[in-house]
């Protein structure tokens, strides 16, 4: 059994799997697909497909150059965030069962993560400053050099939200717990923008989602 790749979009036809939902049974050879078969994703014909492993074109070069992550690269807290990210993705795909399974894994990894020793306000502030003064800029330069537009977009949001976090911490440092007394704490459930005030913003100023995407944190 072989796999054939669409040279245009990278879709892979797997002979072993077929496409049962489109009436192509498991185990159907590529050569046995009807002549009018088109790529289910982009619609080009059979002659735009190549046997996987035998082509040197861009799509396959991209495939082999794709970064392959490994479990050892990540801490338990990072694995928790990867799992909660995937849970959100599956929720958006309307797959509640799979989403719940990733939520459970995210909770598991979070529970067993080693706590930071002596967590403190100052330690948090120093990490925020390192992100703003060093890490975000460095990451952005590398993302730009490799023309990674998705990463650059994430970094734009990241820098803005990190600045908001810094401003919250600074105000807290100056006024203590009391500075929050007359305010609600709202957070944008998409990008993490924190808003302290009476009324939820009509739109997130960072990622532009409407007010109903905001959550209220605790009760004053």
């Amino acid at each position: 059994m072989n796999q054939y790749i669409c040279k245009l979009c990278g879709y892979i036809y797997d002979e072993a799997a077929g496409i049962p939902e489109s009436g192509i049974p498991v185990g159907t050879r590529f050569s046995d697909l009807p002549e009018d078969f088109v790529c289910p994703l982009c619609g080009v014909g059979k002659d735009e497909f190549a046997l996987l492993g035998e082509t040197t074109d861009q799509v396959e070069q991209d495939l082999s150059a794709d970064h392959k992550p490994s479990l050892d690269d990540y801490s338990d807290m990072q694995l928790s965030a990867i799992c909660s990210n995937l849970a959100r993705g599956l929720e958006l795909q309307y797959k509640p069962v799979e989403s719940a399974l990733f939520r459970d894994l995210a909770a598991y990894y979070k529970d067993r993560a080693v706590p930071v020793s002596e967590p403190s306000f100052d330690k948090l502030m120093s990490l925020v400053d390192r992100d703003l003064n060093e890490l975000i800029g460095k990451t952005n330069e590398i993302a730009k050099a490799h023309e990674d537009h998705g990463a650059q977009r994430a970094l734009v949001w990241n820098e803005k939200v990190t600045k908001i976090v810094k401003s919250c911490l600074t105000r807290y440092q100056a006024g203590g717990e009391a500075f929050l007394d007359d305010k609600n704490v709202y957070i944008c459930s998409i990008c993490g923008f924190i808003f302290l005030g009476d009324k939820v913003p009509e739109m997130c100023p960072i990622c532009k989602v409407p007010s109903w995407k905001f959550d209220t944190v605790g009760k004053r």
Binding site: H67, A81, S84, L90, K123, L124, D131, T139, V185, W212
Partner: protein, 152 residues
């Protein structure tokens, strides 16, 4: 591409045009969702919906966009920093600590999404799940990981 219709209850304004145009009755289901088995993927409900609450989604998603190791490596450094800040903030008292912990979780999610984990059905996710199965901890929920590998 074989697709099926899904309804976002949050956006649905109950104009119910989907009930009139659906040729199989899939849009009229007791749980408020569109029945995947009954839906034939014609898209008429999504076209008719006045509130854009119905989307057509594919059974098979396109391959995830490839990422460069150089970019992923630095993105992971920032990702690690955000998870550390989440850990610290969640130990701090009050609503502000909770909000900052949540903000850092959301930023961490966005960063790892853009650093190799965009699509839940991608090879990256599946190979990570397979590696998880070797976890030696007694309480590791391996059954959940296996269930995910089966379903994705």
């Amino acid at each position: 591409m074989a697709k099926y219709a899904v309804r976002n209850i949050r956006l649905c304004t109950k104009d119910c045009l989907c009930l009139y145009v659906c040729p199989t009755g899939a849009t009229d289901w007791e749980n408020g969702q569109i029945d995947v088995e009954t839906c034939i993927g014609c898209g008429d409900c999504a076209d008719a919906c006045p509130s854009a609450a119905i989307s057509m989604v594919p059974f098979t998603y396109p391959r995830q966009q490839p990422r460069k190791t150089e970019v992923v490596t630095v993105m992971n450094e920032l990702f690690q920093s955000k998870t550390e800040q989440e850990s610290i903030a969640s130990e701090l008292p009050g609503r502000l600590g909770a909000a900052i912990a949540r903000a850092n979780r959301l930023m961490a999610e966005d960063l790892n999404r853009e650093a190799g984990f965009m699509l839940p059905q991608s090879d990256n996710v599946k190979s990570l799940l397979r590696e998880m199965l070797d976890d030696p901890a007694d309480d590791f929920p391996a059954d959940k990981v296996r269930e995910l590998l089966k379903r994705l």
